[in-house]
């Protein structure tokens, strides 16, 4: 009968079970006491209150902000490596190609310029300014 009483708190009993329980509650005072105890326990539980500290919502939003920044940086780094690494590889290939073709490793050969001297730079700068 105790089992039936416990079940009555958590599920809908069949009509026959309800009648049986009602009868038992009328006949056995100790079952009524048990029902009171269970009700008191339920009340204690439902009255239990918890709360986070003040500024909980602000703390959540701060963490979201930080996460968003981190994610943005991560995606920038991802995009950077997607561009920078192939770029670096292309430059190395170009350099190797240039060395193999011209047999020398110099800025001129890399840029496809026959000779590049510092005076030319001075002239260019002087004429332009």
């Amino acid at each position: 009968m105790l089992h039936l009483l416990q079940r009555s708190f958590d599920e809908e009993l069949e009509p026959a079970e309800l009648i049986e329980l009602e009868k038992a509650l009328n006949d056995f005072p100790e079952l009524v006491e048990e029902k009171k105890r269970l009700l008191a326990l339920r009340k204690l539980m439902i009255d239990q209150e918890y709360a986070f500290s003040d500024y909980f919502a602000e703390n959540v939003m701060n963490r979201i902000e930080i996460n968003d920044q981190f994610e943005a940086e991560k995606s920038f780094m991802f995009a950077f490596t997607r561009v920078a690494l192939p770029g670096l590889a292309a430059a190395i290939i170009l350099l190797l190609f240039s060395i193999l073709n011209n047999g020398v490793f110099s800025l001129e050969s890399l840029m496809g310029v026959e000779s590049l001297q510092t005076e030319y730079f001075s002239e260019i700068l002087l004429f332009n300014y």
Binding site: L41, Q48, E49, Y50, A51, F56, A57, N59
Partner: protein, 174 residues
């Protein structure tokens, strides 16, 4: 909800405020009060923020967040258990929770603290059904759905948890 889904942070913040009490009940009921619980509570909302577009509205938002909270809490308890395996110190003698004579007078004892301590004495699988059914007021069917358990299992766990709680809180309910 619509605005929060579109990335409006003020709207999301309003959702956090609306549901923080519910989540505090679940997380602190499961883990106890402390920084860990606060941290897990924050993680609940951060996880929801990241996957806000996955929420289709099949369940009420409170229930959806509760599901995340209970899963994160159970995971945290598992990792605590793993940590305790390495740093376990056996305690001899009396059990970790007993009601002292002077605590028998309810007027001298913080009832809520007693209930909280009693709750923490339950195994996590029992505690989770108690938190959802008895503290949060979900129906047994909803509790079963949230925990992804058969209804019969929820009912039997509730009955066993209730028996233990009755023993632990005897002086408060008699």
């Amino acid at each position: 909800m619509g605005k929060a889904r579109e990335g409006d942070k003020a709207a999301f913040s309003a959702l956090v405020r609306k549901y923080e009490q519910t989540i505090a009940g679940v997380v602190m009921g499961m883990l106890g009060q402390g920084e860990d619980a606060e941290d897990i509570g924050q993680n609940v909302f951060i996880r929801f923020y990241k996957a806000i577009n996955d929420y289709r509205g099949d369940a009420a938002l409170g229930t959806y967040l509760t599901r995340i909270a209970i899963n994160l809490s159970l995971n945290e308890l598992k990792s605590r258990q793993r940590r305790n395996l390495f740093f376990y110190k056996p305690v001899h003698g009396s059990p970790s929770f007993e009601i002292k004579d002077e605590q028998n007078r309810a007027d001298e004892y913080d009832t809520k603290q007693a209930v909280h301590q009693a709750l923490q004495q339950l195994e996590p699988k029992f505690r989770s059904v108690v938190v959802l059914r008895m503290l949060q007021g979900y129906s047994t069917k909803e509790t079963a759905n949230i925990l992804k358990l058969p209804l019969g299992t929820v009912l039997s766990r509730l009955a066993r948890a209730q028996e233990k709680l009755k023993g632990l809180l005897k002086y408060l309910i008699d």
